[in-house]
Symmetry: D2
Subunit: 113 residues, 4 copies
């Protein structure tokens, strides 16, 4: 984990920089320009692809790499959504840490709280 521990922070920085680019300069800039509906549609699409890839990986371990790529796509687009709203994955990690970080907590109780 050591060499990619900062990837989410690095990526958040890239997503900020893309706000200053034209829509035709990068994929992310085109999503910002297209607006919230387009970003949310991408999240629906990527979630669908995770579900399909999950069904396939469950019966064929050769499809595990494809599943990882789809989950990466899904996380990536949620990060674009966060950036578009002035936030970052930092808030998501804080939320997960609040729920799970103190070690002794049971995640179910935590989620119900």
């Amino acid at each position: 984990m050591s060499d990619h521990i900062t990837v989410l922070a690095d990526l958040a920085e890239v997503l900020e920089q893309r706000k200053h680019e034209n829509a035709d300069a990068s994929y992310v800039a085109s999503l910002y320009a297209a607006g919230i509906n387009k970003i949310l549609e991408k999240i629906g699409e990527e979630a669908t692809e995770v579900i399909i890839a999950g069904k396939e990986a469950a019966v064929d371990t050769a499809k595990q790499d494809a599943l990882v790529k789809e989950i990466a796509d899904l996380w990536f687009h949620t990060m674009v959504l966060l950036a578009s709203q002035g936030m970052s994955s930092d808030a998501v990690l804080s939320e997960l840490a609040r729920r799970f970080g103190t070690g002794g907590h049971d995640e179910k109780a935590s989620r119900d709280a």
Copy 2:
């Protein structure tokens, strides 16, 4: 970011431990016991809630916290999916690092590759 940088690794460890528990002992153990379809259904549900929360946050910044919580739920359940298939978010971070980590890469070219 300093105090929750290890939350994904910590959470991956928790998800591994839950494999040795009975289905009624924790929420995650109940998902493992229910099987792949139940886990994928949760991902579909959480993605839907992200989309709804995203529409609301886009017109009301007071709803941003709720959006973060929904994205945390979605990431959490993708981590349960990964754990159920013998993987972890480590693979997702590696994939994101491969695409974005070297800094100079344009994410669109990276995704198209």
Copy 3:
């Protein structure tokens, strides 16, 4: 098709009647009371179940009945959504008829229009 040709109209009538019932009197009344987000969440859930059932039916024809049931659930909840907004499946059939009903139309051109 003869004996269920009116099922959509009959069901639309039932969905209207449910508007005059208490939330605990029927499932549909409880959805109306819960509001738009709950109805949309159900659509996301049922769509996910269609996708999972579709993957299974594609490799095992014994799962075809289950797929039909999931699609019925999805149509049903879109009809609840329509009713909640003062509309019915009648509008959907009109839209499909507009696109396809005149026979000579190509559906792709129709959708692009």
Copy 4:
């Protein structure tokens, strides 16, 4: 409802005819050729668009027509899925009639059965 009562049956017939066409001859033929995953991805996409349009229609009745169009798209693609598996909307209508057609049935009991 009188003039489009047969639209689902008419459309089912069109979807059958498309099986004898080349992938580049029509949109539906291209979906058949692309395979089950592509068809399921379209269902995920269209469901997402229904959810987004549902949020908008709930606060702006001027968006009701757009919601109807998205639901028509969703129904259409479930009909393509059914046709790809050798079935039609006839099976969905039968299932809905079985649940609701006899009038006296409560839909919740019916769904739980």
